[in-house]
């Protein structure tokens, strides 16, 4: 069965007919061709599919697409302030060496963006807690925590 839903994706109103069984991740990656969100498990274990729904970080693989009806969804493609520019979180991931294979990166950038929205100056321990739903096998997490800490510091100085 298909259902027509209205979502605001990265600031743009979209009307999509979705299979009611489909996850938000499947619709983002399939119908909407936004392949920046990744599937590492499909069952809510790894966080590679993290997007913001009304500003809150969610695993899009275990959110039904129909739940996003009438809501605002931000994906990794919608994080940059303007085309060609990186957000401070994105830039900090690049500068801190937090990107290796990059498969976890979109999800982590989204989770970090949400975390810093809720907690502007988290401690390293709080960063660890805030990002604990996102798995990364390449980095040992050190540089990822650095990246988030660096954003908080820079924002604090601004």
């Amino acid at each position: 069965m298909r259902k027509l839903i209205n979502i605001e994706v990265n600031g743009k109103a979209r009307e999509v007919a979705v299979d009611v069984r489909a996850s938000l991740l499947e619709v983002l990656r399939g119908e909407l061709e936004l392949t920046g969100s990744k599937k590492g498990c499909g069952v809510g274990e790894c966080g590679a599919c993290t997007v913001l729904m009304d500003g809150v970080a969610v695993n899009s693989c275990i959110s039904l697409a129909v739940w996003a009806d009438g809501r605002k969804v931000t994906t990794i493609e919608g994080v940059s302030p303007e085309p060609g520019k990186l957000s401070d979180v994105q830039q900090s991931f690049v500068d801190s060496g937090a990107v290796q294979c990059g498969f976890c990166t979109p999800g982590l950038v989204m989770a970090a963006t949400a975390l810093l929205g809720e907690q502007p100056s988290p401690s390293r321990e709080e960063i660890r807690r805030g990002l604990s739903g996102n798995l990364c096998r390449c980095t040992g997490y050190s540089t990822i925590i650095d990246a988030v800490e660096n954003v908080a510091k820079t924002r604090g100085q601004a």
Binding site: E33, V43, S80, F93, C101, T105, R137, G140
Partner: protein, 766 residues
């Protein structure tokens, strides 16, 4: 001349595209008219499929075909991503794409092709099999038991390989010993857990050949194995590797590519995608070998090792994969870490009805290092020797030949790693601070050293290629057959090209895609080989291109080519130091000068006949809660000799990533199988304890940087070394805290707690 680009933290060129979600991995690449595949897996661990009922599956709307073994070539292939050997003796050809002979739970017995993934998944579940069941063997011991059924016909005693590496005469060595120590050590099965699951898409190209886009670490090897598995000429395939979400050795096996190409062939060339689920990756691709070591070491009164004997039994699962070479690698590691006048290293690799073990970061070395350094720790404790002095007295000396292959270990700074690391770690203060910490906490420190190799020479082929093209504006396009899998190799290689050419790193464009039709031949990402082997190919190509640039300068400008050089992207007169022209100006002329245009490229294939030895040491400080058995790593340092570090930020990333993996290897990860059925029990990321950032402590690393004469700009391998010694160091720290030994990994709370209880009750060590 001092280096300008080497040794600087050039940002990896692909980081921006990854933080924007622009980097396309295999599953992100759009393909028209795509079909979807699903593997049907055996629900027993050992037996034979007598019949398959596919009726219900074929009735699922959207299902187009079910493939069974009868639909595929009956030829067997070897899945290990090793370089080919001309006599085909290098690997074990034991795998059919689909099989009736079930050798492990989840073995691939059929496959569904459908118009949607959902239809394929539903249909796969509807296929039922009737089996003839055989006894299952989940441990090497069971599989080797007299009378056990051969998992592969003709493999006697289920022993895939039984080899012994020898130095001197071990019995003579024991006769010279004043003390002899013996013990046993065991390691567990763990999995790579690269975040991107294996994914591949296959279709027939316009030229009638077969393209396979795949998340493989070894595109050129994959192409050859496709040919072998499908019994078709190797050139009928084109393998394209886009961005990869990690591999760690698991994608050094060809696991899904032959099947997905077979599916496309069955569909008349229509594109088919096969994307494994996490549960399939964890249980049914490859895992790390669990190895059981029995060690015996002789030591003289003056604290010198006289003899070291190891008997290793390695569990390799249902197919050979890399099995025959993983356990055996330990012999070379042991005798290059320590000076061992008399060594005997026997390794038996045994087929079992469990998950197929293959290559995983470190290739058997985290296992043997655990056994070696646990023995070293035991010797030091029992003889009351200082663990630093004992190691320094026994380390293999720099310059000494590798006892098994004769190649001199020209640079070997393991001793510096030990002494400088000791200072940086603050070992002495931490040692003084160890002991009972109030409540139920006990604190301990531990150290462990390792030895490694770079690449596979002299045991296998080492070949790499690079093509450089001077673009119209003076920038350079670099194509290599080496595989970027997340480690940042192409940023490092671009630095080598830039340094050699005399241009800034950002003027060299790397390429995320390795396409076997386009990229120069190279065997790919494994054995920490690429910076060392491909790096030389890149340096040679850059020298050749620079020579061509200088010759072109001699044609286009008033300068003898012998005086021309390139510096900071300008052609200069090397005698006067004057700038003659920008590289961009020269490049434009090479393309468009009506009379003399000739574009400049250089292509080099490099056959490497060297090996160099990365070495290192881990220091760890832990707290053990004796009431819960919980081990907490308080601080940990890896000190590495990987030669000159090309890119410090990327190198740090490699080390920290390896340490993170190693810490959970020490403390938590373990893949379980149902003892009755052989079914994997925790093949998902909830029950399989891959670490989160809350489980990973702060990590520290340092580099001792001798200039290795063979590696480009003095570099040695670094990808795998960081995972080799942390587990052993953590184990030694835990034993120090507790005052008794635990000799099996992982050190989970349950195991540590049981060991504490046993020890209190005077029971044996675990």
């Amino acid at each position: 001349m001092s280096n300008k680009v080497i040794g600087t933290s050039v940002p990896r060129w692909d980081a921006w595209s990854k933080v924007c979600g622009k980097a396309d991995y295999t599953a992100d690449i759009p393909v028209k008219n795509m079909l979807y595949g699903k593997i049907v897996r055996a629900t027993i661990a050992h037996g034979r499929v007598l019949s398959l009922d596919t009726q219900a599956a074929l009735a699922v709307p959207g299902v187009l075909k079910v493939l069974t073994p009868a639909d595929l070539p009956r030829v067997k292939h070897a899945t290990a991503g090793h370089p080919y050997t001309l006599d085909r003796s290098g690997d074990v050809y034991d795998k059919n794409i689909l099989t009736e002979d079930v050798r492990l739970y989840g073995d691939e017995i059929a496959a569904v092709i459908a118009e949607t993934q959902l239809a394929a998944d539903i249909a796969a579940q509807k296929i039922t099999a009737v089996y003839e069941e055989y006894p299952i063997y989940l441990t090497a011991q069971e599989a080797m038991t007299e009378g056990a059924r051969e998992i592969h016909e003709g493999t006697k005693g289920n022993i895939l390989a039984d080899t012994t590496a020898k130095v001197g005469n071990v019995e003579e060595g024991f006769a010279l010993a004043d003390y002899v120590f013996e013990d046993e050590h065991r390691t567990q099965v763990v999995q790579h857990c690269h975040m991107e699951n294996q994914t591949a898409t296959a279709f027939q190209s316009a030229d009638g050949r077969w393209t396979c886009i795949s998340s493989t670490q070894i595109p050129h090897i994959c192409r050859r194995i496709l040919g072998e598995a499908l019994d078709m000429p190797w050139s009928s395939f084109r393998v394209i590797k886009p961005f990869i979400g990690g591999g760690f050795g698991n994608k050094q096996d060809v696991t899904i590519e032959p099947l997905v190409v077979a599916m496309s062939i069955a569909m008349g060339g229509r594109p088919v995608r096969l994307e494994l689920e996490r549960e399939e990756v964890l249980a049914y691709t490859r895992v790390r070998h669990a190895i059981h070591y029995r060690s015996k070491v002789g030591v003289s009164k003056d604290g010198k090792i006289t003899a070291w004997q190891v008997d290793a039994v390695s569990k390799t699962g249902g197919y050979a994969s890399h099995g025959h070479s993983v356990a055996a690698k330990g012999g070379g590691i042991l005798c290059t870490l320590y000076e061992i006048p008399h060594m005997s290293f026997r390794s038996r690799t045994v087929l079992t009805n469990t998950g197929n073990a293959g290559a995983m970061r470190g290739y058997g070395v985290p296992q043997i290092t655990f056994a070696i350094e646990a023995m070293t720790d035991k010797i030091c404790k029992e003889l009351q020797l200082d663990p630093f002095e004992f190691r320094l007295a026994n380390f293999k000396k720099e310059g000494a030949p590798h006892p098994l292959n004769g190649i001199p270990m020209v640079t070997n700074k393991v001793a510096d790693c030990l002494t400088l690391g000791r200072q940086r770690f603050g070992w002495d203060a931490k040692m003084a601070d160890s002991g009972a910490k109030g409540g139920s906490v006990r604190r301990g420190v531990g150290v462990a050293a390792f030895s490694y190799a770079t690449g596979v020479y002299p045991y296998s082929l080492e070949i790499a290629g690079c093509r450089l093209t001077l673009n119209q504006d003076g920038t350079v396009k670099m194509l290599v057959g080496a595989t970027e899998i997340g480690q940042g190799i192409d940023t490092g290689l671009a630095q080598i090209a830039a340094e050699t050419l005399g241009i800034p790193a950002e003027m060299v464009y790397a390429e995320e895609t390795t396409d076997t039709d386009i990229a120069p031949f190279d065997t790919g990402a494994y054995a920490s080989r690429q910076i060392y082997v491909t790096g030389v190919a890149v340096a040679k190509a850059a020298e050749e291109l620079k020579d061509k640039i200088c010759r072109a300068a001699g044609k286009f400008y008033e300068i003898p080519h012998s005086a021309a050089d390139v510096e900071d992207a300008f052609v200069i007169n090397s005698v006067t130091g004057e700038r003659v022209a920008s590289l961009g100006d020269l490049a434009l002329r090479t393309y468009y000068d009506k009379a003399r245009a000739q574009t400049l490229t250089a292509e080099v294939s490099h056959n490497c006949h060297d090996n160099s030895y990365p070495m290192g040491v881990t220091f760890a400080e832990v707290d053990v809660d004796t009431q819960t058995g919980v081990v907490t790593v308080r601080s940990i340092l890896n000190a590495h000799d990987s030669g000159v570090i090309i890119n410090p930020l990327l190198a740090k990333g490699q080390v920290e990533g390896g340490m993170g993996m190693a810490i959970s290897y020490a403390l938590g990860e373990d893949l379980f199988y149902d003892p009755k059925t052989g079914e994997p029990l925790n093949n998902n990321l909830l029950d399989y304890k891959m670490p989160t950032c809350m489980d990973t402590p702060e990590l520290d690393c340092m580099f001792v940087e001798p200039e290795d004469p063979f590696g480009p700009f003095g570099a040695k391998g670094l990808g795998e070394p960081p995972i080799c010694s942390p587990a052993a160091a953590i184990r030694n720290a835990v034993c120090h805290a507790l005052g008794f030994e635990i000799n099996a990994l992982p050190l989970t709370p349950g195991k540590v707690f049981a060991a504490i209880q046993n020890n209190r009750g005077g029971g044996a060590d675990v």
